[in-house]
Structures are given as structure tokens and as C-alpha cells.
Symmetry: C2
Subunit: 349 residues, 2 copies
Amino acid sequence: MKPTRAAPGRVTLTDIAKGCGVSRATVSLVLRGSPLVNVRTRERVEAELKRQNYVYHRGAANLRRKVSSGVALVINDLSNPFFAEFAAGVDESLATAGYVTLLGSTGESVERQQAVLNSLLEHDPAGIILSPAEGSDGARLHALVGTRTPVLVFNRELDTDWDFLSLDNRRGAQLATEHLLERGHRRIAFFGGHRDSSSCRERREGYRLAMTAAGLTPEPQWLIECAPTRLEAAGQTGALFARDPAPTAAVCYNDAVALGLINGLSARGRRAGHDFAVVGFDDIPEAQVSAPPLSTIAVDPRARGRQAAELILQRLHNTDAAPERTVAPVRLQVRASSDTVSAPPGDAA
Amino acid sequence: MKPTRAAPGRVTLTDIAKGCGVSRATVSLVLRGSPLVNVRTRERVEAELKRQNYVYHRGAANLRRKVSSGVALVINDLSNPFFAEFAAGVDESLATAGYVTLLGSTGESVERQQAVLNSLLEHDPAGIILSPAEGSDGARLHALVGTRTPVLVFNRELDTDWDFLSLDNRRGAQLATEHLLERGHRRIAFFGGHRDSSSCRERREGYRLAMTAAGLTPEPQWLIECAPTRLEAAGQTGALFARDPAPTAAVCYNDAVALGLINGLSARGRRAGHDFAVVGFDDIPEAQVSAPPLSTIAVDPRARGRQAAELILQRLHNTDAAPERTVAPVRLQVRASSDTVSAPPGDAA
DNA sequence: CTGAAAGCGCTTACAG
DNA sequence: CTGAAAGCGCTTACAG
């Protein structure tokens, strides 16, 4: 509960100054690489820094300079490989830029998210990258964070004036649908996700666009909701076949749903890739090794992380610009199998 | 490259003190929950804190008190779900204890690890949880970190006097081997990993113990090295069948290797679970959905993360105790399939 | 119960 | 080119 006493005997600027007979000011100038210092003096100081094994206390410097070298990264679910990769990308770019990542994971809990942000704010982050927990309330978050700290929202839209980085959900679902259309499918379902999530709405929109462009109208019973987990998806499989004629293919909300659907199909004696075609979204690692391997929409989460870091850093140096919405590209990753089945002959609607 | 100027107008203790006509000292006492303050005064101060939307500056307080509320988490590979789960567990427990996680990922690079640690140290962590990059040099790390900051090493042994939390690798491999023995296998390989890693050595030892206990002596050609990745493992599959009689089963260094081997087998016209039995190690999420599902050794990385956090926090309050080695339990996770094949009849060696 | 004063480790005008 | 002094936002004996 309580922070911890540092071991005694930290070496400070004063120790270095004494050690080589200059003032603290001079040592500080050396540390910050000022060209004002005489080269001989600099050498003496640097030798002394090494000799005493000096460690810069960035917190003290930041306090004095009224700056911050930390960026908070609030992640809804680190155990999801998509977000883990994202976090790795963020950390990579922040480190390169000389910032440290202050991590907070919320486990998709709005309460924990509130607590985590509160704690992180006390550490005075220069900015925040926020991948909101499901069900987040933009206004409430805004009230908590205030206007002093720039925020970049990732992935899930929030009703705020913060910067927003999102995947091109619409385009992704469109690509997935077009791919199935090219294989001859006509009765294509959109399977999984919750209608009230912005990403689900956008993906459905892309699906609908592609269908419409092909002269098709999605039947209401082809739009099937379920929580974006493997288990729920497996359980909802039956809904696909509730009415005849049933779909021959499905664009899935994400890979987890797609994998669940594949399981659900085989539990009903069907085989994905043989008598039903499936395409996912996200390209999680499992997609490569599932049976059959899953064609899906690749979003390169690590690159998204790097991008998020760049965006927040940019914002830090440009506080007063208008909020920005950035849409990150996605691409179709075809893997022979989950989608190889074509529509049954004579099935052109 | 440079840290960032905070927006102007941070509300400080002084503002609050002025706002309700008390001294900064009194406000500070209120913040820290001192019982000395008159209850009426406390209420006034608290109202003012709320009114002005005060945010505590923990950095300043820590500086004055000579304490730290951050713990550094240095992770070799966040994109590995095992470590991502571990990180989630660490963060969860640290947050509960009122600490913030300072994240640094090294991507298995010893150079980056050095740089990352350097940067983290400047942020004055109370302690460090270090999951070392492959090839780390204990002495070099020790020289860098010094003796002021307690370190808990996770997963890979390092030649230092730091605390160490490891998986029970020996026991895990023993369980895996015994499981295959129970299925009737006699020619069992140990597949994958690098002999110079401590975890690989320990797992091989567990394998050997189980074999010996069953009166069997592993042939040298049953010990096959390869990098612990899916790709390398697939590539090394042939080595299993280089000499007759070939093994009928393999204990794999980890799940990635096991999945690679499964691919490698099917590329050679063999089917894991039908004519060759495979057991993994780690129980990564893919193990559940691979084809066939993978029997493996579950290590519960999230619980390990929580455990690591507890250990380092304990150490912070007990700096002078002797270094501790903690071995975390593992268990066999049987999944019908990858191991269901029994040894061919008449094959009892 | 409350306030004045010193100080954590650093930086930065300002003199010299 | 270098040093003395003030100050970042907080805490903590110490008086009163």
C-alpha cells in the first residue's frame, strides 16, 4: 500500500560537484550537454559521474522543468494478443522517443479503468493512449482526465473531442465480403459482435456496402449478434441455419468469433472450408494454426501501436490543433482453407 | 526526443491553501489523511480540492519523501501470449498495491534491454521485475542496475544474487513424459529448445528422470535442438525420423515448438495424434484450437505475474534478507488428441 | 490543531 | 566559462 523507502546513499549532483570541485550548476550543464562548459571541465565531470556511478533523477529534473517524460498506456485487455501487440508497438516507439510507458490494464472493467486513470494521472503523464474498456462513458472519462492531458483514443470510439485512431473497419469488412462474393457466394451472413459497438456497426456497414454493390440485399436473419468470444460464437452457430435457405458463408466480426464458428460448425457435422466458408477479422496468431487456417483481415496491431505513439507525441508538441481522426489501413489475408469452398452449384441467388 | 511541457496552470497545494485560507502544510496533512486536522478544517479543504479539481503530484511527494511508487517491468517479448499474460498479472497486483508499472519491452535484444533498463532506472523505480532477454549477461546487468534497486528475475536464470521466480520446468517435463509413458510409448524424443538455456536444460532433466524411472535410456538422436519457434520446429521435424527405429512420441520444449512439429508432421504425411504423439509446454491459447488440440503443461502465466509482483513488493520491505528462489507449480493439461495415439502394438522396447 | 521554514534533486536565468 | 540563488510541488519536524 505504501511506497517504498529508497536505499540510502543515492549519489546526487551535489556529490559529483564536490567530487570534482565545481558547482552543481556546472554538473547539470554537463548532464544536459550544454556547449557552454569548457571541454576540460566537462571531461573531469564526466569522469566523476562514471566513478561515482551517478544515476540521473529524471523525476526531479522534470519537476523543476515542469515537463513529463511518461506516457500512460491504458489497455482494456492485455491478454488479447491484438492489444498485447499494440502495447509492444506503443512501448517501442515511446522508448525510442525517450519516453517511458506507464502501463495500466483495465481488464475491460469500467470501474478499474476509472481507478487506473486516476492513479496514472497522479504520475503526471505527458499524454495518455487509451484503449477504452467496453461500455466506457466518454463524458465521465473526460471529467476525470480534464483538459490538461492530451488523450489519444484507440480502437473504440468515445464521445469526446480527443484524438482517435481507428481501424478501417468498414473497408475491412468490405474486403472480406467481396472475397466471398468472388468465390460465388450469394447468401452471406455477418456473424457476431454487438450492434452497439462502433466497430461492429462499421464492419456491418462495410459488409452491407459490398452486398449492395453486388446487387444483393442481406436478409435480417443473416445478421447474427453474439459476444465477441469463441464460446459465444460456437453457441450461436445454430442461428445461421434456423431458416432455409441458409447462408453458405459468413463474414465474422472477428477471429475469435470465426474460430468459435468453425468449432460450432464441426459440432453440427459441417466443416468450415468444405460446406461453409468463413472469413475472420484481426489476424490473431491462432488464425494461422487453426483448422482450417483462417482467411481474415490483417490489421497489424504492432504497427498500430507505433502509430498511436507517434500520434500522441505529435499532439504533445501541438496542443492547440483540432482533434484528429486517423483511420489505419487493413488488408485481406487469404489463407487457403476456411474460405475455399465455393457456393453450391446452381446456387446463384 | 525531448520531454514535453505540461499545459500551464496546474493546480497546486498552494492554490488550495489560498482557496480556503489555510496553510499548505494543513492541506498536505488532509491529503495524507492525518488525524491531526480538525474535522471542520478537513471538510473545507476537501471541498476546495474538489472545487479546483486538484490532482496530486505524486512525483513531487515522492521526491520529498525519498520514496518511489513505480516498479519497472522489463519484458523480453510482449507479443508472446505467455509474457503478455504475465505482464497483465504483474500490473494487476502492482496497481492493487498502489504502484504504477513502468513498462519496458526488449524484444529479446540484449542491447535494447540495456538501454531500456538505463532509461527505467532514471525514473527511480522502487524495484524491477526482469524477464531477461535471451543471452543476457548477469554480471553486466548487475553492474548496470547496481545494488540500490531490488530485482526479481523471472523465468530465465541469471548469474546474480537477485531473487528468482521460475517455473517448475523439471517437474513439468517429467509430467509430460510420464503421460506419454502411460500411453505405452517407449521411444520418446525431447524436441526443441536450445541446450544453453536454463529452462531447456531443466526440462530435459525432467524428461530424463521420467525415462530413467521407467527403465529407459534416451538415445542421443532423440534430443533435438531448435530455436523455440514454430517455424524452426517445423523445419527440424525430419531429424526425428533420421534413424530407425524412430521415436513414436515427443515431449516438446514449448507449445510453439509443438505446433511447429504438428505442421512439420503433416507436411511429411503424418498426423499428430494418429501416428505420432506430441505434448507441449506453456498452454498458450493456440494450444486449445490447434488441430489436433494440444496436450501440454499449464503454467498459469497470469498467476505468475501476480506472484512476481507480490515477491518484489515483499522484497521492498525487507531489503536485507537473503536472495530467494521461488519455484512455481505447473500441471498437466490433457486435451484429447495430440497425444491419444498409443505406441504401435508390439513396440514395447 | 495550524503555520513557517527547510529541503528532496534538479535547472536556469543572472552576475561575474 | 562558472557559481550563487531561487524555485518546481510536495512533506515534515518544530514551534506555538
